[in-house]
Symmetry: C2
Subunit: 112 residues, 2 copies
Amino acid sequence: MENNVDNVRAQMRKGVLEYCILSILNRGEAYASSILETLKAANMIVVEGTLYPLLIRQKNQGLLSYRWEESTQGPPRKYYCITDKGREQLQEMDLAWSELVETIRTLKTQKS
Amino acid sequence: MENNVDNVRAQMRKGVLEYCILSILNRGEAYASSILETLKAANMIVVEGTLYPLLIRQKNQGLLSYRWEESTQGPPRKYYCITDKGREQLQEMDLAWSELVETIRTLKTQKS
DNA sequence: ATCAGTACTTTGTGTTGCAAGGTATTTATT
DNA sequence: AATAAATACCTTGCAACACAAAGTACTGAT
């Protein structure tokens, strides 16, 4: 609990990470390191140890597929691609997210 | 993984629960069962086994205080009240939440 | 050969939400 | 007086998950 502000943000990130990954991959295939960069650019700080297991989980759920591709620089890359099932899940997540935002708005607005 | 939709919502709720509790208590003191009702009314389903430990954690962090009050119906109630420190934390959470909403908006809007 | 860079993976830890069950108090019913 | 129902608070055991840290592997430059 060293830094409270960071902790608050970390807690909130939980639960929307999967949503973010599916959203990013819905724009086109990508490999883990590039997904990390995209998240970082959107101020969504995630580390490797979080992302890799998450991608594997989503692949095992049939939400993602992947293919290996040689890189001109460095080892081959694992390009992930969203599946039809993943797109269905993403639609559900879009709805769940809007509802959550609305729920919070309600809680903040209601005066007693 | 029986119901995917429920699971998606459950995942997203994580991390904003503490924010919800502080927001509710910022409107005035309340006891656990009434907090549960407020959350339920806002479509934020939470169970006792989640709420009680959370209230105790927040109290131990100095974000909440409480007092016992006799009830006309049933056992005494533990009325929780947000502290100055809790209000500070709530402000940080307000900011963190807006930023998270903005982050998601960015991720969804960007076309690659 | 060694190092740096890139990329993927695994292990161990701490936190947290939840299902399920438990304790305690009051009031109504038998 | 004893029992049941309602209300309220609390605890235990489990599973999921984010993260830090360390490891593996491939490529190209020094």
